[in-house]
Amino acid sequence: MRVRLSSKVMKPIASSILGTLFVAVTVALAVVAEMITIPPDYGNVTHVTYWEKWTGFESDAMKTVVDRYNSTEGKKKHIFVEFLPVGDIEAKVLIATSGEMPPDIAGLDTLDVAAFADNNALMPLDNYCNQYGIKASDYIPTTWSMMYYRNHVFALPTTPDSNALHYNRAEFRAAGLDPNKPPTTFDELDAVSEKLTKKDANGKYVQFGFIPADPGWWNWGWGYFFGGTLWDGKDKITCNSPENIRAWEWVASYSKKYGATAMAAFKSGFAFGSSSDGFISGKEAMQLQGVWMYNFIQQFNPKLDWAAAPFPHPADRPDLAEMTFADSDNLVIPAGAKHPEEAFDFIAFLQKQPNMELLCMGQRKGSPLAKVSDWFLNNHPNPYIRLFSDLPKLKSARTPPMMGIFNEYNDALGEAFDEVCLLQKTPKEALDGVHDRIQQVLDHYLRITKLRQAAGG
């Protein structure tokens, strides 16, 4: 028998079913949200979350140290550090911190430390450092200078890096140059570069000696090699100083000599850290590169006959000899972290020499600490580790400017650098343009910072 229900009966039934469903889904969503946002109960163990940008062997190296901590100190103190590699970490830490749910520890670049600190998004670590006896003299001074900002310690290092001239010894020999005598001044670099640049029968470049725009990570910093700076440390942008203009004139000289578009097109065939990398593939005989380059050479062209040496300096500025850019990866505790004390306990554990050397050896970089064991230097796989470790200790070493607006400044310099390389603008025109624009940005930034301080924010 078929029963036909009238719409008078159906409507209330349908609406009550829908209503119940709606309430049930809402409650379920609320429960799930609670489960996500409230950390699970780990009993008497404090759960410390640690976000880091690394992947691959660099991540594995840090994971080893985290495991060591969890099974020793952490076990004793009932602390467990959960290590989580995270992509696009700056944006994610930014959002998580503003949402008041930051990780307890985050791995940030030096360039981001100042911007985050200016926004009160980082916890000052001075008291913790005092408590654990961590002091400036434990570190290489240039490394420490990147941890210390506006009279506070905001970060502690993980692995530092420095850069040097990498050169292809086989190509040196082929060009009749002494492979044990890399260029030491810019004049020598230019002369050697000319000898190492080759064209095929059709006049097409097949090899370059040196390309200032490759790999392009330190385009903002060429002025430092000529004695320039990017700001006065307070409120003045100095990118158009004579030293900076001189540096960029040197950059432009390569475009004039070898052809701006030909050089850009040749470089566009490169892909860093692969078999198509300019230096690894042998198409670029010399390159400014960091301590990590060894890893990629080993991976993609272990037979490459190469060496590393301090980057050249201007002949009339011997005080700038053996300059390097010292940089560092860092650990910070974002403001609002739930377990800052436990987080710092892990950070302090990492700063002990054996643990730090375990990490730096695993990542095949130098150590940020002033004291380095013979074991570390003698067993390090990078044959030039002593060079990369010593360069940041020299007075000539430079670090990226600690400015809250550096990302924007860097972009403006990058654009101007392209214009100079393409000979669209003279170095002076390009750098004057950056100066005028970024000075306004800095003025505005400082004005707003004052406004915030006045408002108590």
Binding site: K11, P12, S15, L18, G19, F22, E90, A91, L94, I95, T97, S98, A115, F116, N119, N120, A121, T261, A264, A265, F266, K267, S268, G269, S276, G404, I405, N407, E408, D411, A412, G414, E415, D418, E419, C421, L422, Q424, G433, R437, Q440, H444, I448, L451, R452, A455, G457
Partner: protein, 293 residues
Amino acid sequence: MSYAQRQERSGWLFVSPWVVGFVGFLAYPVLASLYYSFTDYSVLKKPIWTGFDNFIQLAHDEVFWQSLKNTAYFSLFFIPLSLILTLGLAMLLNTKVRGMAFYRTIFYLPSLVPQVATAVLFLWVFNSEHGLVNAFLASIGINGPGWLTDPAWTKFTIILLGLWGGGNTMIIYLAGLQEVPQSLYEAAEIDGARAWQKTKNVTLPMISPVILFNMIMGIIGAIQMFTAPFVMFPSGTPAHSTYFYAAYLYDSAFRFHNMGYACAMGWIMFVLILVLTMLSMRLSEKHVYYGGS
């Protein structure tokens, strides 16, 4: 409870999921962004009211104007080219040829490829040293340009990328073309109309609302162009030649920590799209034929 009240209650119950979503995920963020556009807001700290400061600063910001100029350049070439090319393709795919389903699938396929994958593909294909395009040009004696390195060519590469993924526009055209009554073509044929006359006097007027729709969607899409240039040309390299409006907006918000500034840019973009859409509607009034009106 009266019948009308019960009806009203049921009505609200049925639309409640949408209302909650609309208020929570659209109305609130939109209104909040309007407020933030009048503040200095880094996301990490509470916003500070600065009035029209962001808008005044934008008016003097070279990068803002440059990104707007780049976006306008891209839109001016991309929108008409895309409208003409996809309409032409749709007309070809509307003919009665054996294996049409196969052709339609082939021409639609590129629009299914994610933008990031397309961007990476284009990086390889248009590489001036090892790319297929320049290798082909070299084989016929042409020295190919620096598609990705020469500021004179980079925007053109992005335009080509946009055109390559025009499958969606094409499908909408195709649907429009299939809606044109056959009787009109038959009548035109009886009157002695030739192919071009049929296209001009029957097809185009009948699909004019579809053309308008695709144009408006094209304007919105072009002004919001983000993913491909963001992947292919980080920070708008070389020399900011590919720095589009949406990329500067993103950088301002998430890299330069200027969310207030980015919100102001977002509202300018909204007004710009609104004005252009209204202008398109107004200017097309006399040229668009709606069958139902």
